[in-house]
Symmetry: C2
Subunit: 232 residues, 2 copies
């Protein structure tokens, strides 16, 4: 494992407060590995053997039932995933696959569990991390239950706008098929949703979106910190 990777991981809120010793033990047992695009990392229903940390690239969490499929979330650097299943030593509820070429850190889940039993600071950091994971899903759930497809798209665009600097221009981070799945709609309907937003000053050019009437878009989207703000 490269020193720079190690420092980045060490800097994560989940790991930064744990003891030197405990962190070293964890990292000693871990592997850094590169994966090609579109590779299945986890199948739902299987045990959680590793805690994953995305160092480079992005990972899609998804789920299947009765022939249908749904994207549950995207993981980008530098973030962990399937923490809850690892801690409970339980079966994974979601599948995971790489979107692009990825560099991942794999920490054996038994070591993670051992670490939080040994290091109190780590177990406190886990509590905050899990509480955040929980609240993120709750927000996702609210987003889905309370909003139509067009509204979800409008708010997602405003979110990207904020993240990307707020200068009236946005580049979609994923292709539209994936974006559609994230927004719980079909690619066809995403296309139509963009058309619906045109009167609100949303101009689409491939992956580039420009906004000419942010006020109007916000009036439609009605962003809400209890749904859209990451840190709340």
């Amino acid at each position: 494992m490269r020193t720079t990777d190690l420092e980045v991981v060490r800097g994560l809120r989940l790991f930064c407060s744990m003891s030197e010793q405990a962190f070293d033990d964890l990292v000693q047992a871990a592997y850094v590995q590169n994966f090609p695009a579109q590779l299945d990392l986890i199948h739902e229903g299987e045990p959680a053997d590793f805690l994953y940390v995305v160092l480079e690239g992005s990972v899609e969490l998804y789920t299947n039932w009765n022939g249908r499929s749904a994207t549950m979330g995207m993981v980008s650097p530098v973030t962990t995933f399937i923490l809850a299943a690892v801690l409970k030593d339980a079966i994974c509820l979601m599948s995971a696959r790489t979107c692009e070429r990825c560099k991942l850190l794999l920490i054996p889940s038994a070591n993670v569990r051992a670490a939080f039993h040994r290091d109190e600071a780590f177990s406190h950091a886990i509590i905050i991390e899990l509480a955040d994971c929980y609240r993120t899903v709750v927000k996702e759930h609210k987003n889905l239950k309370l909003r139509s497809g067009v509204e979800r798209l409008a708010n997602k665009l405003l979110h990207y706008h904020t993240v990307q600097g707020g200068n009236g221009r946005v580049v979609l981070p994923y292709d539209k098929k994936l974006l559609a799945s994230m927004l719980a709609m079909t690619p066809e309907n995403l296309s139509r949703a963009f058309n619906t937003l045109r009167p609100y000053g949303v101009e689409v050019n491939g992956a580039e979106i420009t906004f000419t009437d942010l006020k109007g878009l916000e009036t439609l989207a009605k962003p809400n910190r209890l749904i859209d703000d990451r840190q709340v």
Copy 2:
């Protein structure tokens, strides 16, 4: 606080492993209080002042946005709620109201946070509890993303059937308006969904449901442990 209440709370997975001292401190600071039906306990957006434990009655977690409303979950005895907000000292993402007359235990959230910093066993129990909360919402989310209204109803009925003894008969625990909201559908559509299930041997008589073709119902519902099983 009555001794029997105290023992029940002490028996909860969240509290049973913590030290006598820490539990006593927590309980000393707490109040038991009775609330009438349909009383608002928490408004989303407000700080989480207490960790709540439902001792009697049931509580609805719900949320609002732009004039719309959605039920997020039901809490029945003996269970805690808004644990994540309490631990993070954050704003509540959901509102809560009593459905019927309720007896609740209110533990000041500052005391909960102090307790997990002092008692290691408690912080480990919190980790397991939070991981479970997280996985429960993930399952809810999958249920909503992957299934139609009729499918959600069919699976909910099968779930009640299992919980209530599996003898081909079920009594709905809530009125149909609330059940509809839990299933993310309107009361009108719940009524129609019951009609859709009649050919699958589902007979409705007020709150009493009887099943005459469980195999058939299961073929339609396709229950899945990664969505429907509570303990997975």
